[in-house]
């Protein structure tokens, strides 16, 4: 049957499914309403439902991490510590760090958006290994339980970096549970990454060549590579640390012949790439949102796509810039400093290309776009201040001060979190089929961003003046900056709490979103929302690159040119696909 091609001002990658009428919508079976039992959720192998499972718990853990940091910020109101004892404070910031990193930043976008959107973007029915996908969620929960248990029995006070010999010998807190938690959640993120890599390689629908992959898929692919390669090293490192702790024998403990720097090397071999695990998916989201809300092609598809892969590769060669002052060899420090400068370039390219993308666009400012612009503003600062720290000479002064804190919060919160919220608001209509309040969502975005500036700009000043990180008490000359920080943090708090309300409200009172509320080109938008059981009623065939917002009715033109855009048109797509294969010059022409 020849598919009816609607009249559009843009060109989607494939023929959009006909918009169901009210009546059809009522009757339609989708992934949410086919079964309401609890078991149908706990035993689901549907990537969309698994994505929502991740969403629920990632949000819970985010709230916990936020609670921990609110204690920290309140305590810092006074130079002598307003509310916490010294060790309570140490446990609070450790809880904040570990929870936010291992239970939120790392899993949230791969777990929620990666699971939900990637298969839809490439026109697959599901992930390559659906059962494995569910398993990785359970594994993640299991790991999370160890973290919670560790908190329940008195917490951990080593900081999220677990440097021995303090962590292994002098800290009498629950390092072993936390170590198990990291090991297990790490295993989960490996499984997810494995699934995504294989899915991207093997599950793409006809016509979805590497050159037509949405940039979010590219970003997730790069992220997964890092997770596959880096996470196991962390796993084995924490294992050794746990052995040292429990047996009381020396592996990293110098008093027993070990070398504490070895731990730092192996830890940062994971944990520096880990910051790219956190930010790359965010960059992918931004590429989607920016193009859609400015109705433009991405500026320099190849550059943006390959810069993701570039970051993934080069990001492995810079871990030593965390150890400039730790006593590592001079020459290694130089190499690491140099390569760090190189890895800054791909990020710069991305920012410039995004900026160029909105140029001459037709920009509208719904919540996702506001978050995306927030990302651009904040991530730019985050990236630039990274240079002060990558420069060995200035890092001597700034290392381990609030300058570092501010820098990585600008990238991790200002970058990753803003991107996450952008993505959540962008795909929420697709996930739930409902639209949230326009006013409240914009308000929340503005609050979050402005609060963010107020929180972290003062920390740069405090840091340059030498205020060390992880200090519950500090020299009173820093008090003003800390008060400003705490004020900003409270504003952010409101900004992050609002979505909880209007998003949940949208489920009940929100108006129907329809298949494609943003008039976007990606495959995921060419199917009804919420999507049917297997995403597409018929396997989509891709005829166009993503982001063809400037070509009106490309599909009709194609049809007019005599091409038969129907189900049975595989030969054409087939030839096309193979034709474009080699030319994409991509890792592993699938």
């Amino acid at each position: 049957m020849a598919a009816a091609i609607p009249d559009l001002t843009y060109t989607p990658q494939s023929i959009p499914a006909p918009e169901p009428t009210e009546a059809q919508e009522e009757a339609r079976v989708n992934y949410l309403n086919y079964d309401y039992t609890l078991m149908s959720w706990l035993l689901t192998v549907d990537h969309k439902r698994i994505g929502l499972l991740y969403l629920i718990f990632a949000s819970i853990f985010f709230t916990m991490g936020a609670f921990a940091v609110s204690l920290v910020r309140l305590n810092l109101l006074s130079p002598t510590g307003a509310i916490l004892e010294l060790d309570q404070y140490n446990k609070a910031f450790t809880a904040h760090g570990t929870i936010m990193i291992f239970l939120f930043l790392i899993p949230v976008i791969p777990g929620v958006l990666g699971n939900f959107i990637v298969p839809m973007m490439i026109g697959a029915k599901d992930m390559a290994f659906p059962k494995l996908n569910l398993l990785s969620w359970y594994v993640w929960m299991a790991g999370a339980m160890f973290f919670l248990w560790q908190l329940a029995v008195g917490g951990l006070d080593t900081g999220w970096t677990f440097y021995p010999p303090y962590s292994s010998k002098y800290s009498h807190t629950n390092l072993t549970y936390a170590g198990l938690g990291i090991f297990i959640t790490g295993f989960s993120s490996i499984l997810t990454a494995l699934n995504i890599i294989v899915t991207v390689h093997k599950m793409r629908c006809p016509g979805m060549t590497w050159g037509r992959l949405p940039l979010f898929v590219w970003a997730m692919y790069a992220t997964s590579i890092i997770q596959i390669l880096a996470t196991p090293v962390l796993a084995v490192t924490v294992t050794l640390l746990a052995v040292e702790k429990t047996l009381g024998v020396g592996i990293f403990d110098p008093s027993l012949g070990g070398d504490p720097l070895l731990f730092q090397h192996m830890f940062w071999f994971y944990s520096h790439p880990a910051v790219y695990i956190m930010i790359l998916p965010g960059m992918g989201v931004i590429s989607e949102v920016i193009t859609c809300f400015s109705r433009k092609n991405i500026f320099g598809y190849k550059a943006v796509a390959w810069s993701s892969v570039g970051i993934a590769v080069v990001g492995f060669l810079v871990w030593g810039h965390h150890m400039f002052l730790a006593g590592q060899g001079l020459y290694l420090s130089l190499v690491f400093s140099l390569i760090t400068m190189l890895v800054a370039v791909p990020s710069a390219i991305k920012v410039f290309n995004w900026t160029a993308t909105i140029y001459k666009g037709s920009i509208s400012f719904e919540a996702p776009m506001i978050y995306a612009l927030g990302f651009l503003f904040l991530f730019t600062i985050g990236g630039l201040t990274g240079l002060h720290l990558a420069t060995a000479g200035t890092d001597i002064h700034l290392h381990d001060t609030y300058f570092v804190i501010a820098h990585f919060h600008f990238t991790m919160v200002g970058g990753m979190l803003m991107a996450w919220l952008a993505g959540l608001h962008y795909w929420w209509p697709k996930m739930t089929g409902r639209m949230y309040s326009d006013f409240w969502s914009r308000l929340a975005a503005v609050l979050a961003i402005s609060g963010f500036f107020l929180t972290f700009i003062p920390q740069f000043i405090a840091g340059y003046n030498g205020m060390p990180r992880r200090y519950p008490n500090y020299n009173e000359s820093y008090q003003l900056w800390n008060i400003m920080s705490t004020a900003g943090a409270s504003i952010q708090g409101i900004g992050y709490t609002l979505p909880l309300f209007y998003l949940i409200a949208s489920l009940f009172v929100g108006k129907r979103a329809g298949s494609n509320p943003w008039r976007a080109t990606g495959l995921e938008w060419q199917t009804p929302s919420p999507p049917p059981m297997h995403n597409f009623d018929s396997i989509p065939i891709v005829y166009f690159a993503p982001y063809e917002y400037s070509i009106p009715n490309g599909l009709r033109a194609l049809a007019a040119s005599g091409m038969v855009l129907t189900e049975s048109d595989h030969a054409a797509a087939n030839g096309h696909a193979h034709g474009t294969h080699g030319t994409q010059g991509v890792p592993s022409g699938s």
């Binding site: 592996i251 012949g257 297997h534």
Partner: protein, 265 residues
């Protein structure tokens, strides 16, 4: 097309070929993770081996190289049997398939049995890393007795090295203990992988019993299993020189140790 288009295809795949290649790739990507996993601990080992070569040789000399040698051959053979298993599955010869799977399981189990025995011997010899200390009395030049606190491990390892006729001059027992930590960690992780592998093999044997492999196209699951199993073998191939062959050994010693392990003589 090698894989026949008969046989079930999971709901989310278009056809068999896609499924086969997908399954294969999944395992390969997983093995990448495994390589980095063992690579990490081997890197840590290498650092200390470079720092303390003498002490690590001493530690290696205290190991039971006899069992290790036998185990090497067992594992290699199991690699052979599982490979033959693939062919059987491919040819649809259920009986042979079950046979080869069983053979692999047996060989693997014997390996683990011997390994357990080895750990047991190490335990008996007191080669367990520990922070325990005891007070010993040593005579000084004037023949006066002095109470000295010494690590339990140090005493044991010195005894064992003495039995092995290893010259302990300039050997720091604390670093020998470091070697033993790596010995237990690396072999332990390897054993863990073996156990998981045996579990999977058993599961496949049950499946074979149930006739799951009637569809010859499902030979790919055996093949993927074999990839994992070969990898476990591959790790051992590196553990052998790193841990067991680092110190000085002789064939006689190996044979003697193996007999000792089995309680022969």
């Amino acid at each position: 097309m090698a894989a026949s288009t008969t046989g079930p295809v999971a709901h989310h795949f278009d056809n068999l070929a896609q499924q086969q290649t997908t399954v294969r790739m999944g395992m390969w990507v997983f093995l990448v993770t495994e390589v980095l996993f063992f690579g990490g601990i081997m890197c840590a080992y290498t650092v200390y081996r470079i720092w303390f070569p003498r002490d690590f040789e001493a530690g290696s000399a205290a190991l039971n190289v006899g069992i290790a040698t036998v185990n090497t051959f067992l594992l290699l053979t199991s690699s052979l049997t599982i490979t033959l298993g693939i062919r059987a599955a491919y040819a649809g010869n259920q009986k042979a398939l079950k046979g080869w799977l069983l053979a692999t399981i047996v060989l693997g189990s014997v390996f683990l049995g011997l390994k357990a025995r080895e750990y047991h011997l190490d335990y008996q010899e007191g080669l367990m890393p520990t922070s325990k200390k005891v007070v010993v009395y040593e005579k000084d030049d004037e023949g006066q007795e002095h109470a000295i606190e010494r690590s339990v491990f140090a005493i044991n390892v010195e005894r064992v090295l003495h039995e092995e006729k290893f010259d302990t001059a300039g050997v720091n027992t604390q670093r020998v203990q470091l070697f033993f930590i790596f010995y237990y960690a690396m072999t332990g992780l390897h054993v863990l992988h073996m156990v998981i592998g045996l579990g999977l093999l058993t599961w496949q044997l049950i499946l074979a019993q149930r006739g799951f492999f009637q569809h010859t196209s499902r030979y790919v699951y055996i093949e993927v299993m074999s990839l994992y199993w070969h990898f476990v073998d591959l790790v051992w191939i590196f553990l052998l020189p790193l841990l067991y062959l680092a110190g000085s050994h002789t064939f006689e010693q190996a044979i003697h140790q193996f007999q000792h392990a089995l309680g022969m003589h």
